[in-house]
């Protein structure tokens, strides 16, 4: 608060000083231009020049003084705020741990900040107690009210605070913000809603609401992923719900598959591998990436992976070749031999590396490729891979 006021004042002082300097220099320039620079200075002109120099010195001195005073005051205020904060942390701690009486409202800013920070730090029984305290001061109501503000920065701040409070009852109004035309509001809102949902992972009605909001909201893939992660224990139920839905937007399906991969939810593999035949290449890539991440290709996915080896999209073929390294050797090796001659270099390299996954058998296939592969580039790549491997082993 004092920083923004101080910055504004600084801008004003700077403008004032610059204006004084510009006016002085202009006056001097005009005087000297009219009288000619070769004539000696009259006593009046000398005093004007001296006055201008003194004025500029005063201006610069004033500016320096302002900066020094501003920093000194800032430090003092910061220290005082820190002490206040610490005091309130102790006070809330005693309310929490010794069941002391809570202070009466309205709370000063330091008290509110300490309470919200405690909410972010604690979970379980003590976290619940903090939530009850927050409710008793109706902090959430103030921030919910601010969601109706016309200024987007105020609404973003409110959403941030609601995310920190993570109260289940704020889920619905926060989800309503997902229809906002501004992308920034939608992105922050979905994260805030995810925080609230994480507090009640078994509330089916809340899960349903969140799911339908995700399906209808215009959000990017990374924001969707982030939101799904933030739902904590609720993520698994959400992913199951999403994977059984028909006509899911591609970006939501990609986010779902990626999150399932990163959370190592292999029990979802039957639903995930059905999307290996998805018309969208990013979905096929996400499924293959997840299989590679799991280091596991279920039997039911083998056919889909084999189909993806011939995918028209290079990125999909690269991932399919990597996934091939995870299926049975006898099925994979001939296909990897073929993939060595893929028109895309990245696929060829992935095939050579995948062969090395099969240990001695893979290495001997690579040696064979180095000697007699009909594609010259494949033979050269095999040589390179073998050399790299030897270098690595020697090291």
């Amino acid at each position: 608060m004092w920083r923004s006021a101080g910055d504004r004042l600084y801008e004003l002082v700077q403008l004032l000083i610059l204006s004084v300097e510009v006016v002085t220099i202009t006056v001097l320039a005009v005087i000297f231009a009219l009288r000619g620079p070769w004539r000696p200075l009259t006593p009046t002109e000398q005093s004007v020049l001296l006055l201008a120099a003194v004025l500029m010195l005063l201006c610069l001195g004033g500016l320096t003084l302002y900066i020094l005073v501003f920093h000194a005051i800032s430090k003092r205020i910061e220290r005082a705020q820190q002490a206040q904060y610490q005091l309130w942390v102790r006070r809330w701690g005693s309310v929490l741990l010794q069941d002391g009486p809570p202070p009466s409202g309205p709370l000063p800013p330091a008290a509110e900040k300490a309470l919200i920070d405690l909410r972010k730090t604690l979970k379980g029984e003590s976290g619940q107690k903090i939530s009850d305290l927050i409710r008793s001061y109706s902090l959430e109501k103030r921030w919910l009210k601010r969601l109706n503000a016309s200024r987007p920065d105020l609404r973003l701040e409110a959403l941030d605070m609601l995310a920190a409070l993570a109260l289940p009852e704020t889920l619905q109004p926060v989800l309503a913000q997902l229809h906002d035309p501004r992308r920034s509001i939608r992105s922050v809102a979905v994260r805030a809603a995810a925080h609230s949902l994480a507090e009640t992972p078994n509330d089916h009605a809340a899960l349903e609401c969140f799911l339908s909001a995700l399906c209808s909201a215009d959000l990017s893939e990374s924001v969707l992923e982030d939101a799904l992660f933030l739902t904590g224990d609720a993520a698994r139920y959400l992913l199951i719900g999403l994977l059984v839905m028909d006509d899911l937007p591609a970006r939501l399906l990609v986010a779902t598959v990626n999150v399932a991969g990163q959370l190592q939810l292999m029990e979802l593999s039957p639903q995930i591998v059905t999307h290996l035949g998805d018309p969208q290449p990013e979905v096929r890539s996400a499924v293959l990436q997840t299989l590679v991440r799991w280091n596991y290709v279920p039997q039911s996915a083998t056919e889909g992976v084999l189909k993806c080896i011939k995918d028209p999209v290079e990125a999909v073929r690269v991932l399919a070749v990597r996934a091939l390294a995870l299926i049975a050797e006898e099925g994979a090796v001939p296909l990897l031999w073929t993939a060595l001659a893929d028109p895309a270099w990245l696929v060829q390299r992935a095939a050579a590396q995948a062969l090395l996954h099969f240990g001695r058998t893979g290495a001997s296939v690579l040696k064979d490729a180095a000697r007699r592969h009909p594609d010259q580039r494949a033979a050269q790549l095999a040589v390179q891979c073998l050399l790299n491997r030897r270098e690595f082993q020697e090291r």
């Binding site: 942390v89 300490a114 730090t121 979970k123």
Partner: protein, 122 residues
Amino acid sequence: VKRVLIVDDDILTRELLEMSLAREELYTIASASDLQSARTALQQQDFDLVLLDLNLPDGNGFDMINHIRKVLKQDTPVIILTANHQEITVLRGFQMGAEDYINKPFSLREVHLRIEKVLKNR
């Protein structure tokens, strides 16, 4: 009475844990907000347990574990307390000799029980 050192740059976590552990009268608590002051505290007295945050202003908690094990040659049990939930971080902590791992946000009861368990196992 067991001596516990809390190393965390977050004033709220330090204060809260200090208050919570001191309440039981089973522990005497010292706290440090950075690696430097934690090292000084460890040199000045022996502790029965260190509760350690990983992200500190002058380094990471792994350096602290290293210091305790390799420089001070102490086997003081260390419990990592961090918001970093990544598997690789957890594994590294255990590999370096941490006894236990607590994720932030944490439950105070859980922290108490884990400390009790670690100290009992010693």
